[in-house]
């Protein structure tokens, strides 16, 4: 029973992290109609910035805040210099250009920080396990990820639902031509949205960094999951991204945790331990396939086009 609680928290933590990544992607894709494969690179840059700034400043929190700002600026710069010129074009052009950006960022990182990767050590107060209930210890840092991600989700909800900018963002997700026709400065809105998406990706990257290592190409695998989430959640919908990310995080973690034991009931032990990891990594894609068949627009589509 205690194990179930712990695995549930693991799933929640992973899901919330995926949400941060997917939220930026779904905003950019839904509002700007722009396919950004380089979103994973921004995630990587967030982690590299954090690893550098934490060493410079000597403070974990301050380093992370600086890294967040740096990723936001990088996102805005990227939009201004490169991506702005691609909006009118075909999706295939977006894919090609942003794939080029992935290669560009990977090699830029190799040149600046070297090929070996970096470590982002945690301050001592975050490395102790935290007792959440009698007998259940949970890493303090993973709890911190859950808290921060929930706060960001709440903030994002308030911004999108309660402010004028948020109203424009929602309007943009439902009908881009119409808000342009109403005299809204679309260019500025796009730059802002892209910067916001970049900052969210950077936040996900820098929060993941102490758990994993900071290395070249770290954003590429996780980007696939983020795309799965926005397909399941409905493109352009923050609420959809949130729920789908939690779903995906839970299914992935609980699948990994309990599928081997379930399979051992019907298969031999050796066969079960081999089949279970393969099967549990398929579950997410299975869910996506089912959603695509039943509700091709995703579970919570942003609006009818």
């Amino acid at each position: 029973m205690l194990l179930v609680v712990e695995q549930f928290l693991n799933g929640l933590q992973f899901g919330l992290l995926l949400f941060l990544l997917a939220a930026g992607l779904t905003l950019v894709f839904g509002i700007m109609d722009f396919v950004n494969l380089a979103h994973g690179s921004l995630y990587m840059m967030g982690a590299y910035f954090a690893a550098t700034f934490v060493v410079w400043t000597g403070s974990f929190v301050l380093g992370c805040v600086l890294a967040l700002g740096a990723t936001l600026l990088l996102g805005i710069l990227l939009e201004f210099v490169a991506l702005r010129h691609l909006y009118g074009r075909d999706h295939l052009d977006h894919v090609l250009a942003t794939f080029g950006l992935i290669l560009f960022f990977n090699d830029a990182v190799r040149l600046i920080w070297g090929p070996a990767g970096l470590a982002l050590p945690l301050p001592p107060w975050l490395t102790v396990p935290f007792q959440i209930m009698p007998g259940v210890y949970y890493p303090a840092y993973r709890l911190a990820i859950i808290v921060v991600a929930l706060l960001v989700a709440l903030l994002l909800y308030l911004v999108v639902m309660r402010t004028r900018i948020g109203m424009l963002i929602r309007a943009g997700a439902s009908n881009r031509e119409m808000i342009g026709a109403l005299g809204i400065n679309i260019k500025l809105l796009y730059t802002l949205v892209f910067g916001l998406g970049a900052a969210l990706a950077g936040l996900a990257g820098l929060m993941q960094a102490p758990i994993l290592t900071v290395q070249i190409g770290m954003g590429e695998n996780i980007l696939i999951l983020a795309f799965v989430i926005i397909v399941i959640g409905g493109i352009g919908s923050i609420r959809g991204a949130f729920l789908a990310a939690i779903f995906v995080g839970m299914i992935d973690t609980l699948g990994r945790a309990f599928l081997p034991d379930l399979l051992r009931q019907i298969l031999s032990s050796a066969a079960a331990s081999t089949a279970a990891p393969a099967l549990s990594s398929m579950l997410i894609y299975l869910l996506m396939a089912i959603v695509l068949v039943v509700r091709p627009e995703g579970l919570f589509p942003a609006g009818r086009r």
Binding site: L2, T127, Y137, I211, L212, T213, S273, A276, P277
Partner: protein, 390 residues
């Protein structure tokens, strides 16, 4: 008409060329030079190049040409690159291979073309057993051997029970099987993770804790070893469940693992401080040539691979068409290995000692790997009986 004549002449020359190709010794080297594990491939290349420097970049009086190919840690890519080296570069030797799954995919073209092969890391059980082949040698080990030594060490320490975690591919299965074959205590559970994409081990660590086992054994080469140690420390397991490892802590991962690796034991057939002369020269010259870097066991095995190839070419005085004579020369392991003297088994896998390595603080405060004791002497892999060698 005249053009046709020249063309014919050129063709004849081109056809005659393979006979002339014997002027250089061509070696193909397949390893990972891109992606997060490229640091391992670089270490292997550095060490291979250093070995060539040490022998004057000549073998049997002929200059040596090495063609490095990147497998991207993918079996299908590794196979393509291997086929390219054999068919279009027509290499005399093929060496390298970090990953067992890449090696298994690449083995068939090598064996079919009877190309001489020296494996510098991967040691899948199949290659030691039913897939062993006369022209295939290894300067590393069979996957099970190192974890077997770890299991022995855990017995010596009186460890009662263990929880096993490893990646779900050929080497991961061999490694966990290796510990299980020697460890006398209870195995409370075993988990395989998706390789190489899964980097978060929270679910597995939670299960390990819930199992109530006295210790954890893991095999995570490359960056995954850094990630595992991070998460193991963050989960607060270091005080509760001591960790035992194989191929998880090395000179490449240690600078990233830092304090997390302190006091975590592992087994290895080579450690940088082994006291033989060749090893002292290898380690000192490596650190001189590649400033800021330290050689790893991957590099030591690649260094030995170059020496083994050189010993074969010397034996036939550069005539690489005499494959059976080269094979006979290689079986003697007649070179100064950086791990100290060793013999080849019937399956061309080394019979060698395994040492206990520990992470300690150097005199200057930096972390280093150190040999603590010899765990097993003259260990031979357990698959050699299954090798028909024909």
């Amino acid at each position: 008409m005249r053009t046709a004549f020249w063309l014919a002449g050129a063709t004849v020359l081109a056809l005659a060329n393979p006979a002339l190709a014997g002027d250089t010794i061509k070696i193909g080297f397949v390893s990972t030079f891109s992606g997060p594990t490229a640091v391992i491939g670089n270490d292997m290349r550095n060490s291979f190049e250093l070995a060539l420097d040490h022998i004057g970049r000549k073998m049997g009086g002929k200059p040596v040409e090495v063609i490095y190919e990147d497998d991207g840690q993918k079996p299908d890519v590794g196979k393509q690159k291997t086929e390219k080296l054999i068919q279009s570069d027509k290499v005399d030797f093929i060496a390298g291979y970090i990953w067992s799954n890449v090696l298994l995919a690449s083995l068939k073209p090598v064996v079919d073309s009877k190309t001489m092969m020296v494996i510098a890391n991967a040691g899948p059980s199949q290659v030691a057993g039913e897939l062993c082949s006369p022209y295939v040698f290894s300067t590393s080990w069979q996957n099970d051997q190192t974890p077997q030594a770890v299991g022995e060490y855990m017995n010596q320490k009186g460890v009662k029970s263990v929880f096993l975690i490893g990646p779900n591919y050929a080497a991961g299965k061999d490694m966990l099987a290796g510990v299980k074959s020697t460890f006398k205590g209870e195995v409370k559970g075993e988990e395989y993770t998706v390789w190489p994409s899964q980097l978060d081990f929270s679910a597995e660590l939670s299960k390990a804790r819930a199992s109530g086992a006295a210790s954890i054994f893991v095999f995570y080469p490359g960056a995954a070893g850094v990630q595992f140690l991070n998460q193991y420390a963050q989960a607060g397991l270091k005080a509760q469940m001591p960790l035992y490892t194989a191929f998880t802590i090395d000179e490449l991962s240690l600078p990233l693992q830092k304090e997390n690796a302190l006091g975590v034991p592992g087994a290895q057939q080579w450690v940088n401080d082994l006291p033989n002369e060749q090893n002292k020269k290898f380690v000192a010259d490596y650190r001189k040539k590649y400033t800021g870097l330290r050689p790893t066991f991957y590099g030591a095995q690649s260094y030995d691979a170059a020496q083994l190839i050189a010993s074969a070419v010397e034996a036939v005085k550069g005539d690489t068409s005499k494959k059976d004579e080269m094979k006979a020369a290689m079986q003697k392991a007649n070179f100064k290995s950086v791990r100290g003297a060793f013999k080849f088994g019937n399956n061309h896998i080394p019979i060698q000692n395994f040492y206990l390595q520990d992470v300690v603080k150097d005199a200057d405060g930096s972390l280093a790997l150190k040999t603590v004791a010899t765990i097993v002497k003259d260990s031979q892999d357990k698959y050699h009986d299954k090798c028909p060698m024909k």
